[in-house]
Structure formats: structure tokens, C-alpha cells
């Protein structure tokens, strides 16, 4: 019987010297999400999107039947109804924060901190401008928008740093 060892070694050497090695090196540097990343993202979406859908439904109901400009005392109940699905969304974000690892939690905390800081600065600025005699329509929405924008921008900055 012939010894197959040297031939196998030659085949392996040839195989490892081919572009396969080049391909693997690039593959190792790929930015593909891991299975764990996808599982975490899937769980977050399963928590998050029902809240968004419920918010859209409640908001539509409020705009259609809430009669917020009317005089019924029930309009105050209608006005706070969207808070319920909003709390669901807050729950989704908090559950996501518990699910992710330490580094991602650090990034999330920094992003939330950025949003909070922007919202606080916006509210103080608007409050002083009001004292100075300027009037605002939908002031809560201005602060909300500033906070959300701050959160999004900080998220992008800390993720790319």
C-alpha cells in the first residue's frame, strides 16, 4: 500500500495557499451581525412595534372621537389615553436595556443622557423666553422633539466614535 500522507499534505497546502485564505481573512473582518445580535434585535422589535401600533390606533381614536377642542370633561381622559401605549414603548426600551451587554448598555445610557440634556436645555430656554414675553404653541412638542433629536444624534455619535 502506498502512503497517502504526503499527497494529502500537498493537497492541503495547495488548498490553504489558494484564494480561500484571502477570502477567509476578509470574511473574518466582516461586519455581519451575530446570531445573538439578531436575537436581541428581534426581541426588541417584538416588544417595541406592538407599542407603536397601539399608539397609532389610540392616537387615531383620540383624533377621531376625542373632541379635544370641545367642552366635555371626558376630553381630558381622551387626551391622556396615548400615555398608555407610550408606557408600553418605555417598557420596551427598558427591557432592551436589560437584554443588551455592558458596552451596548453604556452606549444606550450615553444616548439617553444626550437626549435628556437636550430636552432639559430646551425646556429651560423655552421657560426663560416665556418669562421674557414670547409665547409658544405646542411647547410640549417642541421639548419632546428636541429630546428625541438629542437622543438620536447622540446615539449615532457614540456608535461611530
Amino acid at each position: 500500500m502506498h502512503d497517502q500522507g504526503p499527497m494529502v499534505t500537498r493537497i492541503l497546502d495547495t488548498y490553504l495557499a489558494t484564494p480561500h485564505t484571502w477570502y477567509m481573512t476578509n470574511k473574518l473582518d466582516s461586519n455581519d451581525h451575530s446570531a445573538g445580535d439578531r436575537a436581541v434585535a428581534r426581541s426588541y422589535q417584538l416588544d417595541f412595534w406592538p407599542g407603536i401600533a397601539a399608539y397609532a390606533v389610540v392616537l387615531t381614536a383620540v383624533l377621531l372621537w376625542g373632541d379635544l377642542d370641545g367642552s366635555s370633561p371626558w376630553r381630558f381622559v381622551w387626551a391622556v389615553l396615548p400615555v398608555i401605549p407610550s408606557l408600553w414603548i418605555v417598557r420596551a426600551v427598558l427591557r432592551h436595556a436589560k437584554r443588551v451587554d455592558d458596552y451596548q448598555r453604556l452606549l444606550l445610557l450615553q444616548a439617553l443622557g444626550g437626549g435628556f440634556a437636550v430636552a432639559m436645555v430646551a425646556s429651560v430656554t423655552v421657560a426663560f423666553l416665556e418669562i421674557a414675553g414670547m409665547s409658544f404653541v405646542g411647547i410640549g412638542w417642541i421639548i419632546y422633539g428636541a429630546g428625541m433629536l438629542g437622543w438620536i444624534v447622540t446615539s449615532i455619535v457614540v456608535a461611530r466614535r
Binding site: 473574518l28 451575530s34 446570531a35 451587554d101
Partner: protein, 71 residues
């Protein structure tokens, strides 16, 4: 802090995603570890050491600033 994580990972033929799954962290976290933007907490450092079957101090190399006691 510097580390040999990328070299160790590549020596095993793993992608960042493979390593992330074995450590129970995100690929983004592995990338941050390899580029020195993030120093792991002790439990993660021990998981890395166990996975590569090496002592922690042979994987992570502290900078002078990490070991100095001056503030």
C-alpha cells in the same frame, strides 16, 4: 488598555460575530474590544480568557495610565 483579541480570534478562524456569540455579547462590543475603545468588565474578561484558554494578563496589556496610582 491594549489586547491581543483580534489576533487570537483570527488564529481560530472566527469572525467577530462568531466570537460575539461565544462570549454572549454583540459584534459591536467585540469590535470595540479589539479596537481598544472598550475595556471589558471582569466577568467578560474571564469569559474571554477561558474561551482562549489563556491567562487574562496574556490577552490584555495595561497602558501606563492603567497601572499608575497618581490622579
Amino acid at each position: 488598555m491594549n489586547n491581543h483579541l483580534k489576533a487570537l480570534r483570527e488564529s481560530r478562524g472566527w469572525t467577530q460575530g462568531n466570537l460575539a456569540d461565544q462570549l454572549g455579547v454583540s459584534r459591536q462590543t467585540v469590535n470595540a474590544l479589539e479596537t481598544g475603545r472598550y475595556d471589558p468588565a471582569l466577568p467578560l474578561a474571564f469569559r474571554i480568557a477561558r474561551l482562549f484558554d489563556k491567562p487574562i494578563e496574556s490577552i490584555f496589556i495595561p497602558d501606563d495610565a492603567d497601572v499608575t496610582t497618581e490622579r
